[in-house]
Subunit: 361 residues, 2 copies
């Protein structure tokens, strides 16, 4: 079985998404009827799921549903996070769904991604403000930072009795040289995932994740069953590629990510370094055209800034035909990123002022 | 090496205390000069230690010191707990020392000693009131219940990165079929033990324990060293024997313990079932005398109700000489237990009314 470590996905790893669906025993997203009309579904960024059909049915029947997703606190969010979180925001809007957002500052620490807990907490509080600024309906959204909402550990302790260390080993492949915090962390993650049901009783909870987080969901779904909760539904997102290509935009690979706390001017310049699908000279590109599927520039434009499918299709067609050059699409991306970040960072500043009112206590 | 499981000491286990000193690599208490003038030291109930001499020296030099000890929340305290806790109270008095008392309701749950977390918490709150009623100087004493003071998990997470699962396995001998909560719990225990230093900076902390808790201290001392704290000092207490003999008064063996929430009248009756050192008939006992060291009745009298050594020596001599019969010492114990419990339980009732003011938040 392909081993995707939820704690460390290498940029170099080539990911065969169709194979993962088979090997992880998930369902292709195409098996779901009535998908919401949102670009992540229309454009195949969501490629796989577990029980998403049940979630949709419950939401449409006006039953209680909620969405939960989480981020690590190793540093500022980047465009890759925004891509997944935008899906949550879209689904929240479509169905008016309560959302819980968890920030794993403890995970960032036990896996050595930050030097101490103070740094993890500082990151977490920045991320909380970024989450607010992304556009969630904050009247229906709760943000949970583990170091501040330590009551999560009571639930983790409860759930811990419903599995064995052998099961953790089988799912995560850890070895005994890892620290006890890393070994226990999956239980804390399961507690996050089952928290909405612990608070409001059994109901369908959707957890949108990148495929590398699926081990957490396998564990949480097993445990949910044992404690009388509904198995959480899951949709799996592809990774947004890195700036220079590579399977994943990643905090750990310098230069692969556009961070949401980057200076807008600098971020715009980074766009010029993005992988294109073009030819080596302008003359050749005019003549031969470019490959829009190879272009990270176009991927980012489609993921973040072009909502209309026809507009995106036309751009790709023009690019393929050699009518649109790399310099031009790069400028579109750079301008969009710069404008977005200026507005976004102003909203972050506002949110930071009274961030505590958004945090679970 | 003798394996004493801190989570389950069998009543049947015969404990060779001198051998433990050797095998655990601790020091006999006789190696400490200037022992405090307290019965637990004078009568050999404290038999072993780690760095207790350093603790005494620091306390005498008026340096900051503190004492920490903990109890499990599987049910009411019994006379065996009182015996260890009385030592803490005595040391608190002698040196005016701040005390932290931790109640492991999470441990009671993950090891399956209670059916759910609500029961563990209920026990914990009763125990907290019992601790107050035992006579600690509450202006210098903090009580910590894990389910209520979940911030302890932040410290546990911090410390977890300073050891590996291999070390937990080596110290505790757990197997992989145990749940992750049990595997992680030693880190929570280490967090308890190092909490006074985390709060007030590095200083000498004494942890009085029964010998079965020594694995927790070995781990905490290792970790203390790694995070720049003073290695906690330890004194090891013998177990108070069970009512009918056996190496340990234990919650898990019915009839072995006199619980502090027992009806005073019932507790007095239980005293009549206690193991004696007497002969089979009154006539024989008058003639041959009894064995005071075998008598649990006399052990309890000495442990809890007779402060004066000469008084205890005379009682033992009279018993040995056949002047004092089992019925008489049993009545002494029964009367003492009954009177103590009536007063104690009145104090518990008072403490329960405003127990929250004593609990760390």
């Amino acid at each position: 079985m392909t081993h995707i470590d939820p704690f460390d996905v290498s940029d170099e790893q080539e990911i065969d998404y169709q194979r993962l669906v088979k090997e992880f025993g998930t369902q292709p997203i195409s098996s779901v009827k009535d998908l919401p009309d949102y670009k992540a579904f229309r454009r195949g960024f969501v490629f796989s799921h577990r029980d998403f059909d049940k979630f949709i049915a419950a939401a449409k029947a006006k039953k209680r549903v909620s969405i939960l997703t989480g981020v690590n606190a190793s540093g500022s969010l980047h465009l890759g996070h925004k891509w997944t979180l935008d899906l949550v925001i879209a689904l929240q809007k479509v169905y008016g769904i309560p959302v819980v957002l968890t920030i794993s500052d403890d995970e960032a620490y036990v896996t050595g991604k930050v030097k101490d807990q103070a740094e993890a907490l500082k990151n977490a509080r920045l991320i909380a403000a970024q989450l607010v600024a992304l556009g969630f309906d904050m009247s229906k959204t709760k943000i949970l930072i583990h170091q501040q909402y330590t009551r999560i550990y009571n639930l983790a302790v409860k759930l811990s009795t419903r599995c064995t260390l052998n099961e953790i080993k089988a799912i995560y492949g850890f070895d005994m040289s890892k620290n006890p915090g890393q070994w226990f962390y999956p239980i804390v993650q399961a507690a996050d995932i089952l928290l909405p049901q612990e608070m409001d009783g059994p109901h369908n909870v959707l957890v949108p994740i990148a495929i590398d987080q699926d081990p957490h969901l396998r564990l949480a779904r097993d445990i949910a069953d044992k404690v009388g909760y509904v198995k959480p539904s899951v949709v799996h997102m592809r990774f947004l590629r890195g700036l220079k290509g590579g399977s994943k935009m990643s905090k750990s690979k310098p230069g692969s990510a556009i961070f949401l706390d980057e200076k807008p001017e600098t971020a715009a310049k980074l766009c010029n370094q993005a992988l294109t699908g073009g030819q080596s000279t302008v003359e050749e590109q005019r003549r031969l055209g470019g490959d829009p599927e190879k272009s990270v520039v176009i991927e980012y434009l489609g993921a973040h800034f072009i909502e209309d499918d026809k507009e995106l299709d036309k751009l790709k067609a023009d690019y393929r035909a050699g009518k649109l050059l790399d310099g031009e699409v790069k400028k579109m991306l750079a301008d969009s990123v710069k404008k977005y970040l200026i507005d976004f960072q102003a909203r972050v500043k506002l949110a930071e002022k009274d961030i505590d009112k958004y945090l679970m206590k």
